[in-house]
């Protein structure tokens, strides 16, 4: 009798374990990623996405989670979002981080262009050198292995998959619905001050457009804009070319009113200070950009009214739908 009971228990255990196994098999994460239809805004440059990291719903979702999760930091103390707050157009005033906005159209990253190439390249730098991500934490996590399997068919998570997921999410961080964009689409009209500021911006009088032109409001190139008579190395630090001394990447002016402080070292707290600098404070140095053609006069010499108009125009570049876009927000927020 006792043997029968024991046998029954053994059989039951075997059946139960088989049952568990069967259930487990059916829930095994599968690699059937759903293509993500990334819409390029009208008038924007083509968005080149290499075939080795196609946009998928699963990849973007995973990238968004990683962006907001300090698990990618070796000390669990930092996340991308820690220095790139959505409410500040994905920058953070206290650390003067570069805004994450329309980065899919960049080819060089960080103020001195330390990393060139694709978003995947800068994200790989962030994962391996900035965060020094401990992959064992992700591989042993309760949820991430399944998500990486679904997004990349990865059985083992490496820095490659982490950077690819982050790059996919970053490509969705598109701002193209500012008041200026709506004006271009014929949905609103500009006020007189905005219109006059627009004309200043895009003519030689204000002369902003040579470096901050195109629909992206940046030429994505490097310039010495005359901040200092003895500039620091800037781009020279990367290129070792003395001609690059004091050159920094032109940042986009989209959402510029949300991304104070300004300049690579955050020396200006307000946009008014920035315009005062370009108007009266430009300094000569040997590598100053030839486009700073009024340097002999200290700048473009704007009147107070012109400065006010220019600021009115710059405010039209603020995209509140971007900073409130739920698809870019913290997925862990309650």
């Amino acid at each position: 009798m006792k043997h029968s009971v024991n046998l029954f228990i053994v059989v039951l255990v075997i059946l139960l374990s088989q049952g568990c196994k069967k259930t487990s098999t059916t829930e095994e994460p599968t690699y059937k990623p759903t293509p993500y239809d990334l819409q390029k805004p009208e008038g924007f440059p083509d968005l080149f996405i290499d075939g080795d990291n196609p946009m998928t719903v699963e990849g973007v979702k995973l990238g968004r989670m990683l962006y907001y999760d300090s698990i990618i930091d070796k000390d669990n103390s930092r996340a991308c979002a820690g220095c790139h707050s959505q409410q500040e157009s994905f920058t953070l005033s206290s650390v003067n981080s570069l805004a994450h906005i329309n980065l899919g159209w960049n080819g060089a990253y960080l103020w001195n262009g330390k990393i060139e190439g694709r978003l995947e390249d800068i994200m790989l730098f962030e994962v391996e050198e900035f965060f020094e991500t401990d992959m064992s934490k992700l591989n042993n996590d309760a949820i991430y292995p399944e998500l990486f399997k679904k997004a990349f068919n990865a059985d083992v998570i490496t820095s490659r998959e982490v950077s690819y997921a982050l790059a996919q999410f970053e490509r969705t961080m598109i701002s193209a619905n500012s008041r200026w964009d709506r004006y271009l689409r014929g949905e609103v009209t500009l006020t007189q001050a905005e219109a006059q500021g627009y004309e200043l911006f895009f003519t030689e009088k204000g002369d902003c457009f040579h470096c901050h032109g195109t629909i992206l409001f940046t030429d994505n190139l490097f310039h010495n804009n005359g901040l200092d008579s003895l500039p620091g190395p800037g781009r020279e630090f990367i290129s070792n070319n003395p001609e690059d001394k004091g050159k920094f990447k032109s940042p986009t002016l989209r959402n510029i009113m949300l991304t104070a402080p300004y300049m690579h070292d955050g020396r200006y707290e307000t946009i008014e200070e920035v315009i005062d600098f370009y108007s009266h404070g430009v300094k000569w140095s040997p590598t100053i950009d030839p486009l700073m053609k009024k340097v002999g006069n200290g700048g473009v010499q704007l009147t107070q009214q012109e400065k006010n108009n220019l600021i009115a125009f710059l405010k039209t570049l603020t995209d509140t739908t971007y900073i409130n876009n739920p698809e870019l927000s913290d997925p862990f927020a309650k």
């Binding site: 003519t203 032109g213 950009d289 030839p290 486009l291």
Partner: protein, 226 residues
């Protein structure tokens, strides 16, 4: 209106003809590459160094030289033409942006004439025609008439021992197109089955002397109505 610059043309054989054992007639058609080379008084242009002297005696250096060329047409002795549609963007600092291979195959024959536009004709010079880099940074703002810069030539010059900036930007200013038609009538280009390269050599110093001698001390910025 400034004329330029395309001074010398040489033709280089790119590839030797390949012999064929087949009996059928081998096509003598071929492709043509256009290669843009940049000089100052016969010396290869070096960027970011004030070592050149123009007709007015200004010592100057070049930091940027970017431009559009378009509407290339080859014409043979019988007047038959081959058109190369579209525009090419040249960034003299970036070697990969200095030469272009025609997508059109050129019928065999001797071509005596080459014509093209330095800049963009009005049909091509429209807003958003070139939305992608590197061409998009040639954008010419709508308040200035829209379209694109035809050329950006920028650098520094020595003005009585004070180094100053200069900028020579060309483009359509409102209704004035300012593009330059260039025609070369002694090309003598033989297309006989081998791909050819046409070297187009720009002498930057000619910018400052034709048709008027420019002194950078007086006109350091060729923009707007200057």
């Amino acid at each position: 209106m400034r004329s330029l610059l395309i001074a010398v043309i040489t033709i280089v054989f790119l590839l030797p003809s390949l012999s064929s054992c087949k009996k059928e007639t081998v096509s003598k058609d071929a492709k043509v590459s256009f290669s843009f080379n940049h000089y100052v008084d016969g010396q290869t242009l070096e960027f970011d160094t004030i070592k050149y002297t123009n007709e007015a005696g200004n010592q100057y250096g070049v930091s940027t030289l970017k431009y559009f060329v378009s509407d290339f047409v080859l014409t043979d002795a019988d007047g038959k033409s081959v058109n190369f549609e579209g525009a090419f963007f040249v960034d003299a600092k970036e070697i990969e942006n200095n030469s272009f291979v025609s997508s059109t195959t050129i019928p065999a024959g001797t071509y005596n004439k080459l014509s093209f536009v330095f800049g963009l004709n009005d049909e091509m010079n429209i807003n958003a025609a070139f939305p992608n880099p590197p061409e998009n940074i040639m954008e010419w703002p709508v308040p200035l008439g829209g379209g694109y810069h035809y050329m950006k030539l920028e650098g520094k010059f020595d003005s009585a021992n004070i180094i100053k900036n200069f900028q020579a930007h060309t483009g359509r200013l409102m209704e004035n197109p300012h593009f330059i038609n260039i025609s070369i009538s002694d090309l003598n280009l033989l297309i006989d089955g081998s791909d050819k390269t046409i070297n187009l050599n720009m002498d930057v110093n000619k910018w400052w002397v034709t048709p008027n001698t420019l002194d950078l001390n007086n006109i350091s910025g060729i923009m707007e109505n200057e």
